[in-house]
Homo-oligomer: 104 residues x 2
Amino acid sequence: MNAKFVPYYAVIFTSTQRHNTQGYDAMAEHMETLAKQQPGFLGVDSARNDIGITVSYWENLDAIKNWKQNIEHQQAQLKGRSDWYASYNVRICKVEREYRFVSS
Amino acid sequence: MNAKFVPYYAVIFTSTQRHNTQGYDAMAEHMETLAKQQPGFLGVDSARNDIGITVSYWENLDAIKNWKQNIEHQQAQLKGRSDWYASYNVRICKVEREYRFVSS
């Protein structure tokens, strides 16, 4: 995401998947598209090896709450628990400080 | 990491690498071993595709500050900026809420 003054909020989502994850990638892509349209969305970072880590950034807690309650997102969460995830962990965090480096 | 009551702290480290990352993996592994020995260390999650995301968890801000100032870690940070990273971003966060799911 681009520079943004603290404080703002981050949702750290870490997950492990089951063996059969048919349909997961398409759903994940759709959810990212949808998240980007939500009010208060600031950005998202994502990577996966043994575990997946997705960190999304939000202006405030209300924006996170609204996204959590989005109908399509709710359906994806249900499907995630029933079909795709072996486990996951969600952490709601206040970003208090930030610094960055870019090589010259 | 194992269950831990909020609040605690998370350091979200996102990075992109340069082409030649010789020596990086060994250093990263050594830093993880060293971090685990620090007072106040709670756990770490890590994944890398196009970008790398490492989230480390700490009891409080002092624990994060002490780890940042660790001599070997300082040397690794210098080496990271001179040789390995194209860019990185560090976010210091207070974990305010947490919930988890484990499939039955």
